[in-house]
């Protein structure tokens, strides 16, 4: 009877029928303004240090182009999505389940009723292997009969599988040609289609194999390549974010209850004076809190996708040596000659437990050949040098900038032991020798602190909004609060609060009208 539209958010009556995949609106942009061309002349950096050369490290955020998309199963008020995407719609999906790129073994999974048939077709003329036993099979393209790979295959008849449906896993050799060959072969099997992002998890969820928090936590666990990510993913399962959201939802519910009381009882019941004014104040305060949190919350996304650390500074300062030292592999060619690095070289590393994209850049100098000039331009672009590095150093403060700066003075081994150290007017800095490794521990500790500030250390501080879904609803809540103004039509103003509360309760659950009435009758002597 109430198919199709989910009406209200009482926990007892949640309906998941309308689960749908959402997308982050628009393409995520790097939030930091990286001016494409920097025409301002290079600052004279020499006065900043008495020891040359300098290595600046800046950390900057890199947002992924597309965030992981997951089912937003907790939407309480949603319409049924297209049948093609609805769980249990009969389609069989397949996808590469291991990471992209070259690797030893790649795992390709299918889920759905045609999984068994697909396995039979690819491994013809052999029959299905025994359930849940690894078997070695020759995979061939069903169209040409051409052999693709000798692979380990696993057959999981439903419901005893990850998704609850019939599933097959192909463990093939990790070369791109093999992987794409098997994927194409699967695509040619009738009834199979490539999976939407997160669709395996969503099917598992739809078949009751996972609940929503598990789904979200699982997604992060899969991507927790590092310790910090793993800890945050585990913390999310504990519902700390939910706790924070529940606090906001409580405030909002109270404000809404007072407005609702004014609508349902205002005129011939004696509500106290100032009920609406008090609601106004609470809504404004909530707006401020949410706004602050949302700005802060970007850190959560940084942690999941990796912070961007750019090593920059004058030529021949030893930037490439530092990059090689930090990544423990020869990423960049090093030589005593200034200007050896002419382009931005990026390498993903694990720094003190945080995922980091480390960039080596060309030394910043003028009057060199066109290739190096381009390298210098890219280096500037890469760290938006003038806007942040110099300003930060000059102001001796990192607080206002979303880019953080560590001043590292390399080649400390060249300092004479008795000679003058860095002058008292130097900005805070670290001494390092890439040759002896002296000062590396201090640098790593400083980096850990900086990265924790940028990414948020999941073992301390407020829980981060790792899921863009949370950010989406908090933003939706904030937007709706912006429309709350007590116009002539109080019902319209109340609607804004209802929309805002709806967003919050999609994160926290609950949200029925009984809660509102409970507050009304607790706070007011109404009724005749």
């Amino acid at each position: 009877m109430r198919k199709g539209i989910r009406i209200r958010g009482n926990g007892k009556r949640q309906c998941w029928g309308g689960a749908r995949i959402w997308r982050v609106p628009g393409k995520a942009k790097p939030p930091i303004c990286a001016s494409p061309s920097c025409s301002t002349p290079l600052p004279n950096l020499r006065h900043l240090a008495i020891i040359e050369p300098l290595v600046y490290l800046t950390l900057r955020l890199r947002l992924p182009d597309a965030l992981i998309r997951l089912p937003s199963g907790s939407r309480l008020c949603t319409r049924r999505s297209s049948s093609a995407l609805a769980p249990g719609s009969g389609a069989t999906i397949f996808a590469l389940s291991s990471g992209q790129g070259r690797c030893g073994v790649a795992v390709i999974r299918t889920s759905g009723p045609a999984s068994g048939q697909a396995l039979r077709i690819l491994t013809a003329p052999r029959d299905l292997p025994p359930a849940r036993h690894a078997s070695l099979r020759l995979l061939s393209d069903p169209r040409s009969g051409e052999p693709l790979d000798r692979a380990l295959v696993l057959w999981f008849p439903g419901p005893k599988s990850f998704t609850g449906e019939d599933c097959v896993e192909f463990h093939v050799h990790g070369g791109p040609a093999v992987v794409s060959g098997v994927l194409q072969a699967l695509g040619s099997v009738p009834g199979l289609r490539p999976a939407e992002a997160g669709e395996f998890t969503r099917r598992a969820f739809a078949h009751g194999k996972l609940n929503l928090t598990e789904v979200e936590g699982l997604a992060d666990l899969i991507h927790a390549e590092t310790e910090a990510q793993r800890r945050q993913a585990l913390r999310q399962l504990d519902g700390e974010l939910g706790h924070l959201c529940r606090g906001w939802a409580e405030t909002l519910t109270k404000a809404l209850a007072h407005v609702e009381a004014y609508i349902d009882f205002g005129e011939d019941d004696n509500l106290e004076e100032g009920v609406l004014e008090q609601a106004d104040i609470e809504v404004r305060a909530l707006q401020v809190a949410l706004g602050a949190h949302l700005r802060d919350a970007r850190r959560g996304q940084r942690l999941r996708s990796g912070a961007h650390v750019v090593v920059t500074g004058p030529p021949n300062a030893g930037k490439s040596s530092l990059v090689n030292l930090l990544s423990r592999k020869p990423v960049s060619i090093v030589s005593p000659e200034p200007g050896t690095t002419r382009d931005v070289l990026e390498t993903p590393v694990d720094l003190a437990g945080f995922p980091v994209l480390l960039s080596d850049t060309a030394g910043l100098r003028e009057g060199v050949g066109p290739v190096e000039q381009e390298g210098v331009r890219r280096a500037r672009e890469s760290c938006n040098f003038l806007a942040t590095v110099v300003a930060s150093v000059g102001a001796q403060s990192h607080s206002d900038s979303s880019q953080r700066l560590l001043l590292v003075l390399n080649k400390s081994d060249l300092l004479s032991t008795e000679g003058p150290g860095p002058g008292p007017d130097m900005p805070p800095h670290l001494l390092l020798s890439c040759v002896t490794g002296e000062g590396l521990d201090g640098l790593l500790e400083a980096l850990r602190e900086e990265l924790a500030a940028v990414c948020g250390d999941p073992s301390t501080g407020p829980p981060l909004l790792t899921r863009a879904r949370h950010q989406h609803h908090l933003q939706g809540c904030l937007d709706a609060l912006g429309h709350y103004k007590q116009s002539k039509d109080l019902a319209l103003a109340a609607e804004a609060l209802r929309v805002a509360r709806g967003h919050l309760t999609r994160l926290t659950g609950g949200g029925g009208t009984e809660e509102i009435l409970d507050i009304i009758f607790r706070d007011f002597c109404v009724g005749k």
Partner: protein
């Protein structure tokens, strides 16, 4: 579809077995003269009258069984109809051609729309009603409704038979047994017995079994229902004392005058029966610390207040107001009971103190210093049936073709009862004709919210309608109840008269025409800015702007 008047000859207000003009007389073993109806409605309150007339409008031969014909249409508590949320329900009942809105337009003595300054979605149509007129007009309507028979009699038991295999339920109801042992057969039965199931009246420390004061409680029926396995809960409510009008000093009190012009409840009426200048005023006074003192000193004499049974939070007794919100002045509205009534209803003074203390307390209140209490206030405790035992069509899960409507489902208020009555009447009739049930969803009306809340969540206190319960409040306005429900009621239920249907169609097409005219309007943005200063519209746009665009930008979050 039918005419309201001039059919009196076909209806019997009470009858003996030899005087059945309408029902089939069954020829089975139960006896050749055993009457047989399509629908039997037990109870003649606000749910029962709406249920009986709705079933009859749908074409079912209907029997209304009530203790006393002369109490049909009795307003047992407050002398008013409507209010915020309740006015919405009345408009929806009217859209389905129910009675109460039309009767109120003929019987009110003070019409006032609440919440006028808070937006049209939450207007609360309300009126003080003359009890006597309401009863008279209701009885006239009931006794002239075609296909509807009225009989006096107390129901003692239900007749149960084998269930229909294609439906759930452990048995099927096929009639009722009256106190005198006689039987009446029917295809469906609607139970609207209000507070009569094991009703207890409490004044001070005295308790005696009763429904409303002076009526008999239904005990046999309560036992039958319990034996069938229905889960029963207990609720309480109360009513204030009635005060002699001439004993009140109105001259020192705040006077509230009615609206001018009056807004009628029914879509079928352009005006109400009475001119605004002929209507009666209401008066406002307040309690004071001496009232608190009397309440607190005499709690030991007040068994009703001390009970743990849940009472309505929004209709609290003066005792519970004093206990929960001490040291405050509480409002007391003095409402007329009718044009020629010498009683005043002190809204807000519901109480269960011993009778002599009630007058003592009332005379502490400003304007009531010399007040005479004509009838003391009292509390009522009664059984209700957990409404999660009924479907959205109000049929019980346990017993096929048995429907519950009104206060028996744990609601409070005339309007809530009337709304359920209409739905039960329609569905009892549709069930007999083997048609799909008529269900209003939460997205379509306050009735839908009411029934959905009851049938899915149940209730632990008497359930009252509020606009805050309604998710789609902005769309479910009192003014558009006809376009939401009348067309459906006509096509799917057959409960709407041709005249009303045509009027609703005319209204719908007029609105559509108006909207298309509005959509076609284009002005420059600066002209729009002049016309609607609130709209946030950029005047820098050089192209003409359509009204629809303006609406989109104006109500962005909707």
């Amino acid at each position: 579809m039918f005419s309201f008047r001039g059919c009196g000859g076909r209806v019997a207000a009470s009858f003996t077995k030899r005087q059945f003009p309408l029902p089939r007389l069954s020829s089975d073993s139960a006896g050749p003269r055993t009457p047989h109806f399509d629908v039997i409605v037990i109870g003649g309150g606000h749910a029962g009258t709406e249920a009986a007339t709705a079933a009859a409008r749908c074409g079912s031969r209907t029997l209304l069984l009530t203790h006393r014909v002369d109490t049909i249409g009795q307003m047992s508590c407050n002398p008013s109809f409507g209010g915020i949320g309740k006015g919405h329900l009345m408009r929806e009942v009217d859209a389905l051609d129910g009675l109460c809105s039309r009767i109120c337009d003929q019987s009110g003595v003070h019409y006032k729309v609440l919440n006028r300054c808070k937006g049209p979605a939450v207007w609360g149509l309300r009126a003080q009603i003359d009890r006597k007129l309401y009863k008279q007009n209701m009885q006239k309507e009931i006794l002239s409704t075609p296909l509807l028979t009225v009989q006096e009699g107390a129901v003692e038991d239900l007749i149960l038979t084998e269930p229909e295999p294609e439906h759930t339920g452990k048995c099927r109801v096929s009639g009722v047994v009256l106190v005198d042992g006689s039987t009446v057969y029917s295809e469906s039965v609607i139970l609207t017995t209000g507070t009569f199931l094991r009703g207890m009246i409490i004044i001070g420390l005295e308790m005696h079994p009763a429904g409303r004061l002076g009526d008999q409680p239904s005990i046999g029926l309560a036992q039958t229902l319990e034996k069938l396995g229905f889960v029963v809960g207990r609720l309480k409510t109360g009513t204030p004392p009635r005060i002699a009008k001439e004993s009140i000093n109105f001259s020192i009190l705040n006077k509230q005058t009615p609206d001018n012009p009056s807004l009628p409840f029914s879509f079928m009426n352009e005006t109400v029966w009475i001119k605004p200048e002929d209507q009666l005023p209401c008066y406002l006074t307040h309690t004071n610390p001496r009232v608190d003192e009397i309440v607190l000193k005499n709690l030991h004499l007040n068994s009703h207040v001390k009970e743990t049974i849940r009472g309505p939070r929004y209709c609290p007794s003066i005792e519970s107001k004093v206990l929960r919100f001490p040291n405050r002045q509480h409002q007391v509205w003095l409402e007329p009971e009718g044009m020629d009534s010498d009683l005043i209803y002190p809204q807000g003074l519901s109480m269960t103190l011993p009778a002599e203390l009630q007058e003592k307390m009332i005379t502490c209140i400003r304007g009531l210093e010399k007040a005479k209490v004509i009838q003391p206030g009292y509390g009522v405790q009664y059984d209700y049936l957990d409404p999660r035992q009924i479907t959205p069509s109000l049929e019980t899960h346990l017993v096929q073709r048995l429907f519950f409507a009104g206060q028996i489902n744990g609601t409070t208020g005339y309007e809530e009862a009337a709304a359920q009555g209409v739905i039960a009447g329609i569905n009892a009739s549709l069930r007999v004709n083997r048609k799909p049930p008529f269900v209003i969803s939460r997205t379509e009306g306050y009735i839908g919210v009411l029934i959905d809340d009851l049938t899915t969540l149940g209730t632990s206190e008497p359930y009252r309608m509020f606009t805050s319960r309604v998710e789609f409040r902005l769309s479910l306005r009192p003014d558009n109840a006809d376009s939401r429900l009348t067309l459906r009621g006509y096509k799917e239920a057959g409960c709407v008269s041709q005249q009303r249907y045509e009027r609703a169609c005319w209204m719908k097409s007029s609105l559509e025409e108006g909207i298309s005219v509005l959509k076609s309007i284009e002005f420059s943005s600066s002209k729009w800015k002049n016309l609607i200063p609130e709209a946030s519209i950029s005047t820098s746009r050089s192209l003409p702007v359509r009204y629809t665009f303006l609406i989109q930008t104006f109500s962005h979050f909707l």
